[in-house]
Symmetry: C2
Subunit: 257 residues, 2 copies
């Protein structure tokens, strides 16, 4: 079976600590890279606070809209870890102690002589019908229900969970990209670039000014799943950049500098 | 006039490059810190792609919901910079060349012998009725229309724009916080902490496990705009942590370790 053309994803980052600035999120970038690698188009991210209704609303909005939804944060043992509750509400299912999750946690606790407190047992509450997302770093599992993948907020654990779910995700056509360096500013090539974009609507063209490098420098990034169309469009953009360089007395686009 | 109790904000980060992972966002953290500093509760963040309707929908959803909305990205000179167009659509106003913005840009271009190309003039298109957000780093202005503040995506320019709008924003009561270090894991204090949270519903209590430090370590963060309530709740949490430390043969909560 060939890969579907468009596989999309939405991400929900859950946690007051991100919105207050106390913790600087790094999971968005990690999951963006992960999706790109698998040919999944991450299309929207929402950061929401630890408020039940806000999480429920975001989950229901995004799971209806995208192939996959990922969430990070709020699955620990304390009272402010309410993601499992919110997911159960969003799906209208119960949130019992999951025997498999409990057994995994208890096996870990046995090795460290840790007591099964009420707080720790919160981590074994899994929405009915969900599959566990096991990971090597933490004994506390994430879970998948429907198209929603619920993961930890701690980056090291989240990454282990991503690795664990990767084989279960179906990627789309992998997006390919070509980056063309441009030594003149965006203002000098914006007009011609816009006309090339109109000429190649199936090749996404982005323009990214690089600041703080001293020299004027713009990176033009072309993206398409089709290598042939990408190559043709890249040739056209390189010719345009070379023309702009010549006008400014600079070497052609493909010469190193 | 005393500060209002609750001033809220929503943030919209605009750009395919964030969603593809090519650029790692740092503006969310900067704006989160900025809001906390001013007593503004950043309540929701959305990252959306360079798609007109998606930007319009996010702007209209968030501007109805929060005191302030901030946007970053998509105000440069190239075809993929469509934020001004989307904001004009969201507000149902025209997007003419703004004479003041044009004059600012032309003054800068004159010093660098830069031509006023069609692409560069895109940066002077400002929705009708908007005020300019001038900044020291770039001649291209952001703008404010209604409660929506439109800023650049390049962090250095975005930060200069934040500084420029800070005096125009009314902050709420500044949120105060106390951090209590805890040498036992979240599982050991989650139950009692949840009961203290129920006892002090007006003081937000968060629990943040610190990984990779070797020793078990949980940071408990208490937040409230009321210094007296915060102090009382912090005393109660310290007593609870000391009790948990004692049970584990560790020093009391307020002793250094």
């Amino acid at each position: 079976m060939s890969a579907p053309d468009t596989v999309t994803a939405g991400l929900i980052v859950i946690g007051d600590e991100i919105l207050s600035g106390r913790t600087k999120d790094v999971n968005i970038g990690t999951i963006a890279d992960f999706c790109t690698e698998l040919g999944i188009a991450l299309t929207e991210v929402r950061v929401v606070s630890d408020v039940h209704e806000d999480i429920v609303d975001a989950v229901n909005a995004l799971r209806a809209r995208y192939t996959y939804v990922f969430t990070t944060g709020g699955i620990g043992p304390t009272h402010d870890d309410i993601t499992a509750d919110a997911i159960a509400s969003a799906f209208g299912v119960a949130l019992p102690i999951n025997p498999e999750a409990r057994a995994m946690l208890e096996a870990r606790w046995a090795t460290t002589n840790t007591e099964a407190t009420e707080a720790r047992l919160r981590m074994a509450r899994i929405p009915e019908g969900a599959d566990l997302i096991v990971n090597a770093v933490s004994a506390a599992p994430g879970f998948r229900i429907g198209n929603v993948h619920v993961m930890a907020g701690v980056p090291k654990i989240m990454q282990a969970m991503l690795e664990s779910i990767a084989p279960t995700l179906e990627g789309g056509r992998r997006m390919l990209s070509v980056t063309i360096a441009c030594r003149v500013g965006e203002g000098a090539i914006g007009g011609p670039l816009g006309r090339l974009q109109a000429e190649y609507p199936d090749v996404k063209m982005g323009s990214y000014p690089q600041m703080g490098t001293g020299a004027v420098h713009t990176e033009l990034v072309l993206r398409s799943p089709d290598p042939d169309r990408l190559a043709v469009a890249a040739d056209a953009v390189r010719a345009m950049v070379s023309e702009a360089h010549r006008a400014a007395g600079l070497p052609a686009a493909d010469e190193p500098y």
